[in-house]
Amino acid sequence: MKLQRAPLERIQIEESCEIEELAGKLNIMLSAKSIPKIIDLGMKSLCSEKQLSQTVKELEERKKKLEFDFLEIARQHLKLESRFVGLRTQAAKVFRDNRVLTMHLCVHTLRNEYERQIREELIDRYIAGSKLMYDSSEDSANEVKK
Protein backbone atom coordinates (compact mmCIF):
# COMPACT_ATOMS: atom_id res chain seq x y z
CA MET A 1 0.00 0.00 0.00
CA LYS A 2 1.34 3.40 -0.92
CA LEU A 3 1.66 5.77 2.02
CA GLN A 4 0.47 9.27 1.41
CA ARG A 5 1.52 12.28 3.37
CA ALA A 6 -1.38 13.92 5.16
CA PRO A 7 -2.11 17.39 3.81
CA LEU A 8 -0.43 20.09 5.86
CA GLU A 9 -2.88 21.98 7.98
CA ARG A 10 -2.77 25.68 7.32
CA ILE A 11 -4.07 28.80 8.95
CA GLN A 12 -5.29 31.62 6.76
CA ILE A 13 -4.19 35.13 7.61
CA GLU A 14 -4.95 38.29 5.74
CA GLU A 15 -2.17 39.81 3.64
CA SER A 16 -1.32 43.47 4.29
CA CYS A 17 -0.89 46.11 1.59
CA GLU A 18 2.74 46.61 2.55
CA ILE A 19 3.52 42.92 2.16
CA GLU A 20 1.64 42.76 -1.11
CA GLU A 21 3.66 45.71 -2.43
CA LEU A 22 6.98 44.24 -1.32
CA ALA A 23 6.15 40.84 -2.80
CA GLY A 24 5.11 42.57 -6.03
CA LYS A 25 8.43 44.42 -6.27
CA LEU A 26 10.28 41.16 -5.82
CA ASN A 27 8.05 39.35 -8.22
CA ILE A 28 7.33 36.82 -5.52
CA MET A 29 4.11 34.94 -5.41
CA LEU A 30 3.33 34.49 -1.75
CA SER A 31 2.33 30.87 -1.89
CA ALA A 32 1.99 28.11 0.66
CA LYS A 33 5.43 26.95 -0.49
CA SER A 34 7.26 30.28 -0.30
CA ILE A 35 5.85 31.53 3.01
CA PRO A 36 7.79 29.16 5.31
CA LYS A 37 11.00 30.07 3.46
CA ILE A 38 10.32 33.80 3.77
CA ILE A 39 9.45 33.44 7.45
CA ASP A 40 12.71 31.52 7.90
CA LEU A 41 14.62 34.35 6.22
CA GLY A 42 12.88 36.80 8.54
CA MET A 43 13.90 34.74 11.55
CA LYS A 44 17.52 34.64 10.38
CA SER A 45 17.67 38.36 9.75
CA LEU A 46 20.01 40.13 12.14
CA CYS A 47 18.59 43.57 11.41
CA SER A 48 15.47 45.23 12.65
CA GLU A 49 12.62 46.09 10.30
CA LYS A 50 13.56 49.75 10.55
CA GLN A 51 17.20 49.09 9.67
CA LEU A 52 16.26 46.85 6.76
CA SER A 53 13.74 49.35 5.44
CA GLN A 54 16.39 52.07 5.61
CA THR A 55 18.95 49.89 3.79
CA VAL A 56 16.42 48.98 1.10
CA LYS A 57 15.55 52.65 0.66
CA GLU A 58 19.22 53.61 0.31
CA LEU A 59 19.87 50.77 -2.13
CA GLU A 60 16.88 51.78 -4.23
CA GLU A 61 18.18 55.35 -4.41
CA ARG A 62 21.63 54.11 -5.34
CA LYS A 63 20.17 51.86 -8.03
CA LYS A 64 18.19 54.76 -9.46
CA LYS A 65 21.34 56.90 -9.62
CA LEU A 66 23.29 54.09 -11.27
CA GLU A 67 20.52 53.56 -13.81
CA PHE A 68 20.73 57.22 -14.71
CA ASP A 69 24.54 57.04 -15.00
CA PHE A 70 24.25 53.92 -17.10
CA LEU A 71 21.82 55.55 -19.53
CA GLU A 72 24.19 58.47 -19.93
CA ILE A 73 27.31 56.39 -20.54
CA ALA A 74 25.45 53.85 -22.70
CA ARG A 75 24.27 56.69 -24.95
CA GLN A 76 27.87 57.87 -25.47
CA HIS A 77 29.03 54.31 -26.04
CA LEU A 78 26.30 53.64 -28.58
CA LYS A 79 27.10 56.84 -30.46
CA LEU A 80 30.78 55.93 -30.75
CA GLU A 81 30.02 52.35 -31.64
CA SER A 82 27.64 53.41 -34.41
CA ARG A 83 30.30 55.73 -35.79
CA PHE A 84 32.84 52.90 -35.71
CA VAL A 85 30.50 50.39 -37.35
CA GLY A 86 29.58 52.92 -40.06
CA LEU A 87 33.24 53.54 -40.84
CA ARG A 88 34.00 49.83 -40.88
CA THR A 89 31.16 49.18 -43.32
CA GLN A 90 32.37 52.00 -45.56
CA ALA A 91 35.95 50.72 -45.32
CA ALA A 92 34.84 47.22 -46.29
CA LYS A 93 33.09 48.61 -49.37
CA VAL A 94 36.09 50.70 -50.46
CA PHE A 95 38.32 47.71 -49.84
CA ARG A 96 36.21 45.54 -52.16
CA ASP A 97 36.17 48.27 -54.84
CA ASN A 98 39.95 48.63 -54.61
CA ARG A 99 40.35 44.90 -54.88
CA VAL A 100 38.37 44.80 -58.11
CA LEU A 101 40.24 47.84 -59.50
CA THR A 102 43.58 46.23 -58.61
CA MET A 103 42.52 43.11 -60.51
CA HIS A 104 41.71 45.30 -63.52
CA LEU A 105 45.13 46.91 -63.21
CA CYS A 106 46.77 43.48 -63.28
CA VAL A 107 45.61 42.80 -66.84
CA HIS A 108 47.24 45.96 -68.15
CA THR A 109 50.84 46.23 -69.32
CA LEU A 110 53.06 48.33 -67.11
CA ARG A 111 54.48 51.50 -68.61
CA ASN A 112 57.19 52.33 -66.09
CA GLU A 113 58.84 51.51 -62.75
CA TYR A 114 56.44 53.77 -60.83
CA GLU A 115 53.43 51.81 -62.09
CA ARG A 116 55.15 48.51 -61.32
CA GLN A 117 55.81 49.67 -57.76
CA ILE A 118 52.24 50.91 -57.28
CA ARG A 119 50.80 47.71 -58.68
CA GLU A 120 52.94 45.56 -56.37
CA GLU A 121 51.86 47.58 -53.34
CA LEU A 122 48.20 47.41 -54.29
CA ILE A 123 48.39 43.66 -54.95
CA ASP A 124 49.91 43.23 -51.49
CA ARG A 125 47.16 45.30 -49.90
CA TYR A 126 44.06 44.22 -51.74
CA ILE A 127 44.72 40.78 -53.15
CA ALA A 128 47.45 39.04 -51.17
CA GLY A 129 46.31 40.50 -47.85
CA SER A 130 42.62 40.49 -48.64
CA LYS A 131 41.56 38.21 -45.83
CA LEU A 132 43.12 40.50 -43.21
CA MET A 133 40.32 42.99 -43.65
CA TYR A 134 37.80 40.55 -42.27
CA ASP A 135 39.86 39.17 -39.36
CA SER A 136 40.02 42.27 -37.28
CA SER A 137 39.65 45.79 -38.53
CA GLU A 138 42.45 47.04 -36.33
CA ASP A 139 44.90 44.31 -37.29
CA SER A 140 44.04 44.62 -40.93
CA ALA A 141 44.44 48.38 -40.81
CA ASN A 142 47.92 47.95 -39.40
CA GLU A 143 48.77 45.04 -41.66
CA VAL A 144 47.61 46.82 -44.79
CA LYS A 145 49.53 49.95 -43.85
CA LYS A 146 52.72 47.89 -43.47
Binding site: Q12, E18, L30, V56, L59, L80, L105, E115
Partner: protein
Protein backbone atom coordinates in the same frame (compact mmCIF):
# COMPACT_ATOMS: atom_id res chain seq x y z
CA UNK B 1 -8.34 46.95 -3.42
CA UNK B 2 -10.75 46.84 -0.52
CA UNK B 3 -9.96 44.97 2.69
CA UNK B 4 -12.52 42.31 1.94
CA UNK B 5 -10.83 41.63 -1.44
CA UNK B 6 -7.36 41.21 0.03
CA UNK B 7 -5.69 37.86 -0.50
CA UNK B 8 -5.23 35.44 2.35
CA UNK B 9 -1.89 33.88 3.22
CA UNK B 10 -1.85 30.22 4.14
CA UNK B 11 0.65 29.63 6.94
CA UNK B 12 1.39 26.04 8.00
CA UNK B 13 -0.34 25.39 11.32
CA UNK B 14 2.80 24.14 13.10
CA UNK B 15 4.71 27.27 12.06
CA UNK B 16 1.83 29.45 13.17
CA UNK B 17 1.77 27.75 16.56
CA UNK B 18 5.55 27.98 16.90
CA UNK B 19 5.51 31.73 16.29
CA UNK B 20 2.38 32.30 18.27
CA UNK B 21 0.38 35.09 16.70
CA UNK B 22 -0.58 36.72 13.44
CA UNK B 23 1.30 39.98 14.12
CA UNK B 24 4.63 38.19 14.64
CA UNK B 25 4.09 36.14 11.49
CA UNK B 26 3.35 39.26 9.48
CA UNK B 27 6.42 40.92 10.94
CA UNK B 28 8.61 37.95 10.04
CA UNK B 29 7.20 37.79 6.51
CA UNK B 30 7.93 41.48 6.12
CA UNK B 31 11.47 41.02 7.46
CA UNK B 32 12.01 38.09 5.12
CA UNK B 33 10.75 40.05 2.14
CA UNK B 34 12.84 43.08 3.05
CA UNK B 35 15.85 40.85 3.40
CA UNK B 36 15.16 39.36 -0.04
CA UNK B 37 14.67 42.83 -1.53
CA UNK B 38 17.97 43.90 -0.01
CA UNK B 39 19.77 40.94 -1.59
CA UNK B 40 18.14 41.41 -4.98
CA UNK B 41 18.93 45.14 -5.00
CA UNK B 42 22.56 44.42 -4.18
CA UNK B 43 22.73 41.99 -7.10
CA UNK B 44 21.09 44.50 -9.45
CA UNK B 45 23.54 47.19 -8.31
CA UNK B 46 26.50 44.89 -8.93
CA UNK B 47 25.23 44.09 -12.45
CA UNK B 48 24.62 47.77 -13.20
CA UNK B 49 28.08 48.71 -11.94
CA UNK B 50 29.63 46.08 -14.20
CA UNK B 51 27.63 47.32 -17.18
CA UNK B 52 28.70 50.91 -16.47
CA UNK B 53 32.34 49.85 -16.24
CA UNK B 54 32.09 48.01 -19.55
CA UNK B 55 30.51 51.02 -21.27
CA UNK B 56 33.11 53.35 -19.72
CA UNK B 57 35.85 51.11 -21.09
CA UNK B 58 34.23 51.28 -24.53
CA UNK B 59 33.88 55.06 -24.36
CA UNK B 60 37.55 55.30 -23.41
CA UNK B 61 38.83 52.96 -26.11
CA UNK B 62 36.49 53.65 -29.03
CA UNK B 63 37.71 57.16 -30.00
CA UNK B 64 41.16 55.81 -30.86
CA UNK B 65 39.56 52.89 -32.75
CA UNK B 66 37.43 55.38 -34.69
CA UNK B 67 40.50 57.49 -35.48
CA UNK B 68 42.39 54.41 -36.67
CA UNK B 69 39.47 53.37 -38.86
CA UNK B 70 39.21 56.90 -40.31
CA UNK B 71 42.92 56.87 -41.19
CA UNK B 72 42.55 53.42 -42.74
CA UNK B 73 39.58 54.59 -44.80
CA UNK B 74 41.41 57.76 -45.90
CA UNK B 75 44.34 55.67 -47.14
CA UNK B 76 42.04 53.37 -49.06
CA UNK B 77 40.20 56.29 -50.65
CA UNK B 78 43.59 57.62 -51.77
CA UNK B 79 44.38 54.22 -53.27
CA UNK B 80 41.06 54.20 -55.09
CA UNK B 81 41.82 57.60 -56.61
CA UNK B 82 45.26 56.36 -57.72
CA UNK B 83 43.75 53.21 -59.21
CA UNK B 84 41.03 55.13 -61.02
CA UNK B 85 43.57 57.59 -62.43
CA UNK B 86 45.89 54.88 -63.72
CA UNK B 87 43.03 52.87 -65.20
CA UNK B 88 41.50 55.98 -66.82
CA UNK B 89 44.80 56.71 -68.55
CA UNK B 90 44.71 53.21 -70.07
CA UNK B 91 41.27 53.58 -71.59
Amino acid sequence: MGDHERRKLAVPKDLYEKIGNKESIMKLIKLGLLSLRDTSLEKEITKLTEKIELSRKGVKELPSEVERMEAYLRDMIEDRKTLETILAERR
